[in-house]
Amino acid sequence: MAIISYIDAVTAAIQEEMKLDPKVFVLGEDVGVRGGVFRATQGLYEQFGEQRVIDTPLAESAIVGVAIGAAAYGMRPIAEIQFADFIMPAVNQIVSEAAKIRYRSNGDWNCPLVIRAPYGGGIHGALYHSQSVEAMFCNTPGLKVVAPSTPYDVKGLLKAAIRDPDPVLFFEHKRCYRLIKGEVPEADYVLPIGKADVKRNGEDITVISYGLTLHFALQAAEKLQTDGYSAHVLDLRTLYPLDKEAIIEAAKKTGKVLIIHEDNKEGGIAGEVAAVIAEECLFDLDAPIKRLCGPDVPAMPYSPPLEKFFMLNPDKVYQAMKELAEF
């Protein structure tokens, strides 16, 4: 099995699906000739031509709006938002149109649309190139929000998203693109959207995370092992709807839960996960549910020391995990 990077898994998934299904096409800013600013669509323009790999104007509302129209027409568009920060002009199209088409038309119409958006910080991108915007969309029934953390999950989940009959927001952590590598089968496979995945088995504490911080948790878990504590690590993979069953099972396993994400703490995904646990398995808890998240400040700072302060890292995660393990 080949070891490839996170971003190569993105390209592989799109390329395979485009080969399998002529209705699949890509549109976005600089996705064609340039191959995307992160090179996620590299080689696709050459392989599939300008009819299926479309460079668009800098207008996110148009990118998503056109994609919704194409989806209604029976196509399977993959719209790229160059940075998740730029998704805001398209929120109306995503939330009020794409998410509601099936419901509004009583099931007559659906919207098989994928919107890919690189999110997250740690790349000196500052305000407009570092935001985590996932929580905004995780309160919109009709949408699915996916945020994988490994190349294997990226490929399997992106292929599932493309084949999904309803709109899927696919968030890719941009720091993971070339940092995270892993084994990915060349074969065609899909992973179920809405299912979390246990990335590490342990007995002492349960860590629930997704994206880049999941890798921090895995690294910290190794270090924590030398202190005599084993961590159980659950990767949410899909942020909306949450895999409640897996969350409850993981929480019950150790009774001590730490939820980690890079996004701001208040109103973030962690709060919803904590609420599920509090509602469903209070009597299995051995400690207060803990959250380790980004600070509640308006944006990622440009200054490198401040960016470092904003971002979580394996050390911060280790400290929080150790504290909970010792409780």
Binding site: F283, D284, L285, D286, E326, F327
Partner: protein, 418 residues
Amino acid sequence: MAEKVLMPQLGESVTEGTISKWLVKVGDTVNKYDPICEVNTDKVNAEVPSSFTGTVTEIVVGEGETVAVGTLICYISSVDADANRSGVPAETMTNQLDQHHTTPIIPTKQRYSPAVLKLAQEHNLDLTRLTGTGAGGRITRKDVLTVLESGLQQAPVVTVVKQPQDASTFVPTPKSPSPLTSKKTSEIPVTMGDQEIPVTSIRKTIANRMVQSKHEAPHAWTMTEVDVTGLVRHREQLRDQFKKNEGLNLTYLPFFIKAVVEAIKEYPILNSVWAEDRIIIKKGIHISIAVATDDALFVPVIRDADQKNILGLAKSIDELVRKTREGKLTVDDITGGTFTCNNTGSFGSVLSAPIINPPQVAILTMEAIVKRPVVIDNMIAIRDMVNLCLSLDHRVLDGLVCGKFLQSVKKNLEGYGL
């Protein structure tokens, strides 16, 4: 430099106090005499004032913990001490600071997580028998699982009410080895349907003081009966006017106390304290009165009762009763009594054997006033009669002086309304 703040002596018989609430937190700036915490001691809540102006650097005793008088409860980094700092070599200072901070004090009050409680219930475990490995000795779910796996507690355990913190923090005074702790609670079998009531700190105080009194003071008992027909009539006449003028109900208790105080003046030995090698006769006459609430008994004090008339006594009694019911008694309100009067008649008793309130040497009850046929000048009359019962510490008092004292009280009471 951090100054130590100790659990203060908040009353003569107080040996320990429970921190009911911290009014400051670490990092707060306090002025000298500012209240820093509330302490629940021998029957009262009191605020502990700061002895220093400075910053609270560490709280050693957590809320709800009971510690002996003189125990370190917190550190305050004193401004005065800081001013004197210049002369102290830096190294020494650091060492001293280190000593305070190298051992983080974690509150040890036992709390159980939902998971631990659930497991304990399912397996009928007595958690007080487990040792915790979590932070501050907390029993973790893993601790319980380990015990269950090792099968240490396979035999069904009779769960008993135990308060380990009580047993460990109760410090008996050297003179009175606490008889309460000598009997292990686990020896008392608890069968199904029995109700177990945890012992509150007030109930524990009452228990200890009663045991101490019965254990130390050889109680003797005597009684006299008093014809209070005159007093009853006298009170009837005054009652409505008194209510109108003063807004208070005129009870028999002020008259009773007045009669007692006058008799004490005549026989001051009744107003004394046993001090092993000597007997101290107290100058001030401060009368303790027993006030019952639904679940406890308090003995607030009327100060300088000899300087008060009936109105003054009535007002004092009313105020103390009100404060007792509202739980607002202060340390001053319950300390310094020299003699106790107990109005047992208020709940219908006609005869009782009260326990002396140490370190006092006697306690007098006023029983219920009842109409009885009595012989006066060879004729039978219906009179309002009351029994007065006196318990006395026979180390200090003998029958003769007590008899004379009671006769004096009797004379005073029978003199009302004449």
